[in-house]
């Protein structure tokens, strides 16, 4: 087995194999040493921050590393162990609990290291602690005692962390510690005095950042050089090899940037993908093929793939969505669920389908066809595609069965197009209409990017969002977009149709505090409403909500898109109404209690969809 083969064999270990997740790191390490290959390695984005806790540059604190499986908790934990000169032999053992006595800035601490909180036994064979719960209670107290010499480092899954502390019950400082941990986990502001806690939720590292690092590390791996320098005569890494093609595609800036866009959108929707899953996705993208063993190719499989002419089934474009996997397997892996939600392959426009179906012969579409499909003889204009396309144009009804083969090919091609349409053509060909989220491009380019650069979101975009909100808040097809209409029904603020106007909030009002804006809060785009009384209410504006509001503003009915979004927005309205009336201490509806006057503002629409509030006033003697 040459170096190239060994590398591919090793890379395959990262893919979606039916192996025990808990043993993942171990397995990778073992197969790396067996095959004599270096594992894919990059510096964890939080490494510097984590190592700083004990390096003496600051007063050391207790350290909690949490996140979901595969986020790199164990890895960072071992980094700290090495930093503090822990014995590598002990770390390699199966033990989950350790003690160290590091001296930091002249002071000696007792550091309890728990690298697997759930795996930690209730009683210690070595009698280093009396019971697990007693130890955790002691550690809880250490969090709040600035004079304490006790430190700890705990690595745990977020759910297990909270569950473990919940089980401790209200003993000592355990309750307080749990509240602190929970608040940190949920990203709440923690009131009260500073605690001795450094809390790292590794799931907060943007997956897009992880993808960049993983891509760089994967593509720069020396294993590829070995493959390139010695292609096999039977096809592996030869000119027709799909593994080679996929590797090359992954290097192209366009594929990289589109993939990153998808990851960024997931991040904004709080859909987190751990490092392990990112590597899995990439390994699958390069090596996937439905006919291979465990649906991942080895070098020796290439020969058969070429002989049977099933190269198109190894396409990176389809593998990225898990098309090589069984439906059950695909559904069990979150990353494919997340990417699947974009509906890439199923969604399309007439224009794009016309290019694919008629582009080769149509003079108006030909240049798109040439640029996007004909130039790619590997996965694009293959003989297989051309003949199926001709057959389809001549006889769209399938000869056998009820579905034409070509329709499945269209899906593959649309997926490929998502990664092929260059930025210059993105607007013209409505790139993002190839996904469920037609406004995703706008969301990235005109909302997220300016906000992250410290700029403002364009007024007309805010106006459209406000218009969408107004239509949901009132249940009427209003056209108002320069003020927010806080409407309610007589008795119930969350009712679908609300025709009593409680308040109007101007999008921007000179000299008054009230405003509606899109801002960045903790890295997330948020819709922020400042009420006339100065109270601020925010709504996280993830891609789904953005798309929802845009669609409603374009005329879609609120109930049609996403129930979850609809409920969220109605709850947001209830929150706004509560904030508006609590502050004013009136607690009334559709008008104010102005002395002896009683007034109701009934909302109706004029012919242009402008709201008219019909003020009914009565003297209340």
């Amino acid at each position: 087995m040459d170096a190239g083969e060994r590398w591919i064999r090793f890379l395959r270990q990262y893919g979606p194999l039916p192996q025990n997740d808990n043993m993942f790191d171990e397995q990778i390490r073992r197969s790396a040493s067996r095959l004599g290959v270096n594992p894919i390695a990059f510096k964890h984005p939080l490494e510097d921050a984590v190592l700083k806790v004990f390096d003496g540059s600051v007063t050391p604190s207790c350290l909690v590393l949490t996140g979901t499986a595969g986020d790199g908790k164990s890895h960072l934990c071992s980094q700290v162990w090495h930093q503090l000169q822990g014995d590598p032999g002990r770390w390699a053992s199966n033990d989950v609990y350790f003690q160290l006595k590091p001296t930091i800035n002249g002071r000696t601490y007792t550091l309890h290291v728990i690298r697997d909180l759930t795996g930690m036994p209730d009683d210690d064979d070595g009698a280093r602690y009396t019971s697990k719960s007693a130890l955790l209670v002691e550690l809880s107290s250490a969090l709040f005692d600035s004079a304490s010499d006790v430190l700890f480092l705990i690595a745990a899954n977020d759910g297990q962390l909270i569950e473990t502390w919940r089980k401790l019950g209200p003993v000592g400082d355990a309750q307080r510690a749990r509240e602190l941990l929970e608040a940190r986990l949920m990203g709440d502001e923690v009131p009260g005095p500073e605690s001795r806690l450094q809390f790292f939720n590794l799931s907060n590292v943007p997956s897009a950042r992880v993808l960049e690092l993983a891509l760089d590390a994967l593509l720069a791996h020396e294993g590829w050089q070995a493959c390139i320098s010695s292609p096999h005569p039977d096809g592996f890494f030869g000119p027709a090899c799909p593994i080679r093609k996929n590797f090359e595609l992954l290097q192209t800036p366009l594929v990289r940037s589109r993939l990153l866009d998808l990851f960024r959108l997931c991040d904004f929707g709080e859909l987190h993908t751990p490092i392990r899953r990112v590597l899995m996705l990439l390994a699958n993208a390069v090596l996937g093929h439905p006919d291979a063993r465990e649906r991942l190719m080895l070098p020796r499989d290439v020969k058969e793939v070429l002989a049977k002419g099933t190269r198109h089934q190894a396409s990176l474009y389809s593998n990225l969505f898990g098309a090589n996997l069984s439906a059950t397997k695909r559904e069990s892996l979150e990353i494919f669920d997340y990417l699947g939600r974009f509906g890439i392959g199923q969604e399309t426009t007439n224009r794009v389908d016309n290019i694919l179906i008629f582009g080769a012969e149509d003079d108006n579409l030909k240049h798109y066809y040439e640029q996007l499909i004909a130039t790619d003889p590997f996965y694009g204009a293959t003989d297989r595609f051309r003949s199926a396309q001709r057959a389809y144009v001549e006889a769209p009804e399938a000869t056998t069965g009820d579905r034409h083969d070509f329709l499945d090919m269209l899906m593959e091609q649309r997926r490929a197009l998502f990664f092929k349409i260059p930025d210059e053509l993105a607007a013209e060909l409505k790139l993002w209409s190839l996904t469920v989220f037609a406004s995703a491009g706008e969301y990235l380019d005109d909302v997220a990017r300016p906000l992250q650069a410290g700029e403002r979101v364009a007024r007309h975009l805010v106006a459209r969002l406000v218009n969408g909100l107004n239509r949901i808040f009132t249940g009427l097809l209003v056209s108002t977009d320069r003020e927010l209409l806080l409407a309610t029904s007589l008795s119930f603020s969350g009712s679908r149709v609300s025709q009593l106007l409680e308040d109007r909030v101007a999008v921007s009002a000179r000299g008054r505090p009230e405003k509606v804006d899109v801002v960045l809060r903790k890295g997330f785009p948020c819709l922020e409403v400042t009420l006339p009384n100065g109270t601020v209410r925010t709504l996280k504006l993830n891609l789904t909500r953005y798309e929802f509001l845009q669609r409603v503003s374009q005329g879609a009915l609120p109930g049609n898109f996403s129930r979850e979004c609809y409920e969220d927005i109605l709850a947001f309205k209830s929150g706004l109404l509560a904030a508006a009336s609590n502050q004013a201490h009136t607690g009334n509806t559709g008008g104010a209690d102005t002395g002896g006057e009683l007034s109701f503002r009934l909302l109706s629409l004029d012919a242009n969809g402008n709201p008219i509030d019909d003020v009914v006033e009565i003297a209340d003697a």
Binding site: A69, Q160, S493, N582, G590
Partner: protein
Amino acid sequence: MRDVKVLPPPRPSVQDENAMWVDEQIWGHRLWDAQSPWLIFLEFLTIAESRHRDHALFAGDLLDGAGYPVAVSFKPQRRMHLRNILYNNETLFDVAERYPDDATAWRKWLEWMQDNAQAVPNRDFSYLKKRFNSFKQFADLVGMLRSSTLESNTNKRWSSRFVFPFGSNAIYEDLNVSGAGPSREYIYFGRPGELLYQMLHRSARANELRLHLESALQRRDPCDRLLALMQPEDQGDLQTRSTGYLPYASHPSFDALATDWLSLFELNLPRFDAYSHLATLGALHLMLYQLVVAADRIGSCDPYFVCEVVAPRKTLVRELSGSSYMQNNQLPQQAVEHYVRTLAEKPEWQAAASDPAGFTACRQLMRDHVRWPSDERDYDGPADADALLIALRRAALSRHRQHVANVHRSYGGGAGLVSRRGTNRLRYAPTDELLKTLILANVPTRMEYGEFLTVLFDRYGLVFGEREAQQVLSSDEFDKRAFQANSERLEVRLKTLGMLRRLSDACAYVENPLRKTAQ
């Protein structure tokens, strides 16, 4: 046995028209099945409003000097002018449309009212003319208020229609209006609201609740002020009524109800958003009260409710949910049977029954305890104590089955717990609305998902997940996978309702959606 303080029965003269007194001694007078959660809530409000008017909300002694329970007396409002305007007045909108001239419109309408208004002394509605700027405006506002009618899609007589309880001017009792004038019938207001009032009054948190209710009743909501404008100052004489008997001076069920109501009040929801949740919780706790009291009586453990989160296909959980429904449905009847048995075990009864000439004594003893049999029509069997007992059992059960036995289904259904959704069998399949109510009542800001399931189990006996199921089911009924799937379906439901956030595969939080936005 839970911490319960039992009261002695009321004087024999109280509610002496009742033919029998068995269900009432177990649960009170009375649980009435034919009443929706909203109507129970409205009935409760009529008492609360009256007591508040008399500065006696949640005040008063439980026992009188002679040691008998005191009934709470109250004078509910009738508001016949308002009800004629809102619900006995089909011509109003016709007139508004047909006569653009304001003076004519008023004249025509007042004439019509003069002929058609019912149950008001002089049929004079002319006070309205001074209070509204125009007839059109008046009609528009009546239309607006009518849109808030509760349960407006039911086909009830006009005197049993209710405007939303915006404030004290919107609260009135159910009446039957026939030739002889308005009369109180215990059909739509069948006294469970009276029990609800007394339960809250006797709860450990009555004082805290009083403050919230007082501010709700004093709230000068524009809608309430508008309703006041539609009524004459003089509402005429009101009749005094007394609440039915509630046999417990204190009961954990009362406290649980009060705690939930308080949680809802403390959320400070906008408008009257809390009320529908209060109504749901009222019915839910009355149902729980019935089953818990029954289970206690017969010495059985607390009832539990296996809840199916509706699945597309038939599941094991659905089956178990159906059988836990059947099991609970038997409890009240078993309590009645148990009551009759205990009567026979009393030493006085035993002594009289063993005396060959003791039948009369037995009959008298029975009359003293259960007000039955009053005469030969009730019992004309042999002069034998055992035969008399059998007859009592039969009569008590047949009376029980008419209404009280249906409370479990009726209130459970009204609260959104009991349903036949997707099947032909009754079972526990909570609606989204009920889930939302439970979250608002139990999750101050957020709560870990597993903890939330534990709370629902501890406080209400609701079983969704495997951990809870394992505690109540036998090992051959319990199936871990089925309950895991059930709990996953619940998670998905809560997520679509915007009330759950999953952090990772191991961690999810239930969130109070109204607090979430109020950070």
